[in-house]
């Protein structure tokens, strides 16, 4: 049904407050009514789009275009300065793999906390902890303190947790590039599998992957939606724009 949306974004904008001095933040809190101590930098401006349930939407754009900020807003980590958004269902954000882990605890213990952050109850965690271990597939390391893990192993555990969060909406920020080939394949398989039942919003710089996976692609540029629509078309335009700019930069030299 077309009325069933999963994500709806209405005129979302985000301004960061840039302070010349760290302590100006405190001054702003205390005396903000009388004086402004910051400059505003709008990283997102009037972003509008709707994602239907079951859609797989990719987001492209150059560094600093506001992709991560947009995802952070949708996950509820930071609040938009203006506009509003709605999300239906439970979200599992895969933003920075393994950032919330404690090196002194074992993979299993960290997995329990990670799952609790995503909103799983203890019973649910008990039920799926073995599946998480199997998905991460790091063998006896799962029972070792995480400080001895390699980066790829941490990413495996982190992704395994998100994969078992029983979410309705998966929000992925270019995070799958650290694992080895086997694990990347596994993640991609999982995402394709998830796409059959859930909604996906994914930021990536691997355009071929997006073209294969997504039903629509959103091109974000300087904080506004430049184009949204058919993956092949949008990606072609995006590539052309990148190329044109590269040509210009070379020409300037």
């Amino acid at each position: 049904m077309s009325s069933e949306f999963a994500i709806r974004c209405g005129g979302v904008g985000k301004a960061f407050q840039l302070y010349a001095h760290q302590n100006d933040q405190l001054k702003q809190i205390l005396f903000g009514l009388w004086k402004k101590f910051y400059r505003e930098k709008w990283v997102l401006n009037d972003v509008n789009f709707t994602v239907q349930r079951g859609e797989r939407v990719g987001i492209v754009g150059r560094n600093g275009a506001g992709k991560t900020t947009l995802l952070q807003i949708l996950c509820g980590i930071t609040q938009p300065t203006k506009g509003e958004f709605e999300i239906e269902g439970r979200i599992a954000p895969i933003l920075a793999l393994g950032s919330g882990f404690d090196g002194l605890l074992t993979g299993r213990e960290n997995a329990r906390i990670g799952a609790a952050i995503l909103g799983l109850s203890r019973k649910e965690v008990d039920a799926c902890i073995e599946d998480i271990a199997a998905f991460a597939d790091i063998g006896p390391f799962f029972e070792q303190p995480m400080r001895i893990y390699s980066v790829g192993m941490i990413a495996r555990v982190a992704f395994a947790i998100c994969a078992h969060a029983q979410a309705d909406v998966l929000i992925v920020d270019e995070a799958l590039s650290v694992g080895d080939e086997i694990f990347q394949k596994k993640c991609e398989n999982y995402i394709s599998e998830f796409a059959k039942t859930g909604t996906i919003l994914i930021v990536s710089h691997s355009l071929e992957f997006l073209k294969k996976l997504c039903t629509r692609v959103l091109w974000l540029e300087n904080g506004v939606v430049r184009e949204i629509g058919d993956p092949a078309k949008v990606i072609a335009h995006y590539r052309a724009a990148m190329k044109a700019e590269q040509g210009q930069k070379i020409a300037w030299r």
Binding site: F16, Q17, Q22, N23, Q25, L26, I29, C75, G76, I77, T78, Q79, I91, P93, L95, A96, S99, G100, D102, L104, L105, E109, R112, I113, A116, I117, L118, L120, S121, R122, P145
Partner: protein, 274 residues
Amino acid sequence: MLASIPAVYVAPFDRAWRNRELIRAVVRRELISRFSGSALGPLWAVLAPLFMLLTYTALFSITVPQLSAGVTVTDYASSIFIGLIVFNLFSELAYRAPMLLHEHVNFVKKSIFPSETIAWTATIRAFTYAGVAFAVYIVFRLLTAGSIPPTIVLAPFLIAPFFLFMLGVVWFLMALGAFTRDVAHIMASVVPMLMFATPIFYRIDQIREISRSAAVWLRFNIVGDYIEMLRDLALDGNMPNIFAYLGIVAVSYAVFIGGYQFFMRYKSVIVDVI
């Protein structure tokens, strides 16, 4: 029944209840990670207060200063120990709170982590250690004095409002500490000052004999009031003044709600500044 209470007074509990699984998991992690890698492990939670208690008892059985005049050495040591349990709890949280959000920056910025629960986990952790120390006190008291006043069963009625008071303090310091690191430095100089304005090594009654007005001023120190009342219950076997008790419960609750609202008001800004 609950509907008749305005939402603002129960909102913090409601939020905490919804995040109870997370709070439990993180508290477990903090308790485990504090002792993992040490040979004696959780035994340290018992040993640390035990050494403290023995040191003070030894010290005062040798010196017996004027402050302890009129009481036995073990009574005086017990009195100090209760004072230190409560004050250490306060100072540990007061030192740690301004840095809490900086410690958990990855949680706060990179996952859907309800940052107000950090105050719950830090406070629960501190109260767990204080609870172990209090158990050491009870055993010590039973061994040295042979009995413990029955009023000690009322101690939870003091601990619960003190818990809420500390939560409010932690929320407030956590939010302030996120904006400027000066708060941590301020606490480092204010807490030792507060220590001498708190009846730890002396009792309010002794001050009252010296100066009535000083004793009145000291009553404004909530931590000190809690210490005095806990001594009433767990050492002297007296009932605290009911009006004084209701007074500090009201103040503690106001601090709790005020701290929570302060934190929640700036929560969204904090994510962008740390």
